[in-house]
Amino acid sequence: MRRIGIAGDFSKGFLLFCYKSFIFAVSFFLTNTATSWAADKIAKIEVFPPTPYEGYIIYESLAIFWLFIISLIVIIRMKLREIERIQELGVENEDPDAPVLR
């Protein structure tokens, strides 16, 4: 009886192990497939270069671009002031009789 009992315990354990393995395998398969299906749907498309190095270069370029814009604005503003100053003096009108130097 004892031997049968041991055999019975063993077979029970084995069956339980097989059952658990099967459930695990099926659920693992289903979970994996489910995630990959979902992954296809949800996967975010990278709309910005993903590496930190590229990100750093882009943000740095943006800062330099703003510096360039501000510098250009300052130069144009200075040029405009100079033009307005000359216009106020009234000396910008060309003299049609002035000799042309070449």
Partner: protein, 354 residues
């Protein structure tokens, strides 16, 4: 830079000196509202940027339902700076329409539409309508589920218009539903038909502005105003403003590149909480205000008819406002303008938050 030989070469062929004199002879009045003059220049600048970035995108885009979405993903992920130009095109369109609205409401509130500038208003208004259609047609080209659902709603809404609605809907879709035919049709509108009409109308608008000169607000008409030559004074100011707009545009482009959704599936249910582009939100909110049925008639049809009447009245304001045409103050039309502006802003904000 002094190139006497080039100058001589040009002088022999063209009246170079005459052209310079003409550019300097155009005068712009200076007053406390003259900032509004620059909104038109900004819009023109953004239009040009849209044309350039659009041409670059058109080199790689494939207008077919099987490849459209994929081609945009490839532009963004595989091409050098592809993500940047797509984002620049997206944000350029948003800013362009925003500045068109600012320019429109500025013109309305300053009564710049009054006699003899009615056709300047008409061409500008038509350009706004075309720009909105540019936005709608460009949105579908992405061919993701949101673009697909939004186009279905927009073209379906046009179908609710009485008598000619079915024709507009069929004309826009090219078939019973939004399909590959619609995509091809919208592509043709976006890259060929609308740009040609836009070029013609922008040209006409600019010629009319040059012909009539800059409008001065009614309240300042009797004052003696200082005038500055367009070239170089106002042109340099334009340049500075364009530089700032470019900076803002590039910053938005880099910090907020637009997302790409899942490829459109005509059989899938529409995504939850779908919203159209911001400039359609006021229309959507207005439609939501109406019940499904009013006195046995379709509520949506009545709503669309009322909105169409309101837009038509807005379009014809220069012809209704007789007081402004006579040079008198017309507070009624100022209030009408303010009400239109407040309604547009409120409904857009409510639509955005809901």
């Amino acid at each position: 830079m002094n190139c006497p030989r080039l100058k001589d070469w040009l002088d022999e062929r063209y009246d170079w000196v005459g052209m310079k004199k003409l550019a300097k002879s155009k005068l712009i009045p200076e007053h406390r509202y003259d900032l509004w003059y620059y909104t038109g220049g900004i819009t023109l600048f953004l239009f040009i940027l849209q044309f350039i970035t659009g041409m670059l995108m058109a080199l790689y885009y494939v207008p077919h339902i099987d490849f459209a979405h994929k081609s945009i993903i490839e532009i963004v992920t595989k091409l050098n700076m592809g993500w940047f130009f797509r984002s620049l095109h997206h944000w350029g369109a948003q800013l362009c329409i925003a500045f068109l609205f600012i320019h429109l409401f500025g013109t309305l509130l300053l009564k710049s539409y009054r006699k003899p500038r009615e056709f300047v208003w008409v061409t500008g208004f038509v350009l706004l309508g075309i720009s909105i259609f540019f936005g709608l047609s460009g949105y579908l080209l992405l061919w993701d589920e949101r673009a697909f659902a939004a186009t279905r709603v927009a073209t379906g809404g046009a179908g609710a218009f009485p008598v000619i609605g079915w024709f507009i809907k069929a004309f826009l879709r090219g078939s019973m539903d939004v399909t590959g035919d619609t995509l091809l049709r919208f592509y043709a509108f976006h890259v060929a038909i609308l740009p040609i009409i836009t070029l013609g109308l922008v040209g006409l608008h600019l010629i009319l502005v040059q012909y009539h000169g800059m409008s001065v607000p009614l309240s300042l008409e009797k004052e003696k105003l200082r005038e500055a030559p367009f070239f170089p004074n106002v042109f340099y100011k334009d340049l500075m403003i364009w530089l700032v707009v470019t900076g803002v545009l590039v910053t938005l482009t880099v910090l907020m590149p637009p997302e790409i959704g899942v490829k459109a599936d005509p059989l899938a249910p529409p995504p939850e909480n779908i919203k159209p582009e911001w400039y359609f939100l006021f229309l959507l909110q207005t439609l939501k205000l109406f019940p499904g049925e009013i006195l046995g008639l379709n509520g949506e049809t009545i709503a669309i008819l009322l909105v169409a009447c309101a837009i038509l009245f807005f379009f014809l304001i220069p012809f209704f406002d007789r007081k402004s045409a006579r040079g008198e103050k017309s507070p009624l039309y100022t209030w009408i303008g303010v009400i239109y502006l407040l309604y547009f802003l409120t409904m857009t904000v409510v639509g955005f938050l809901s």
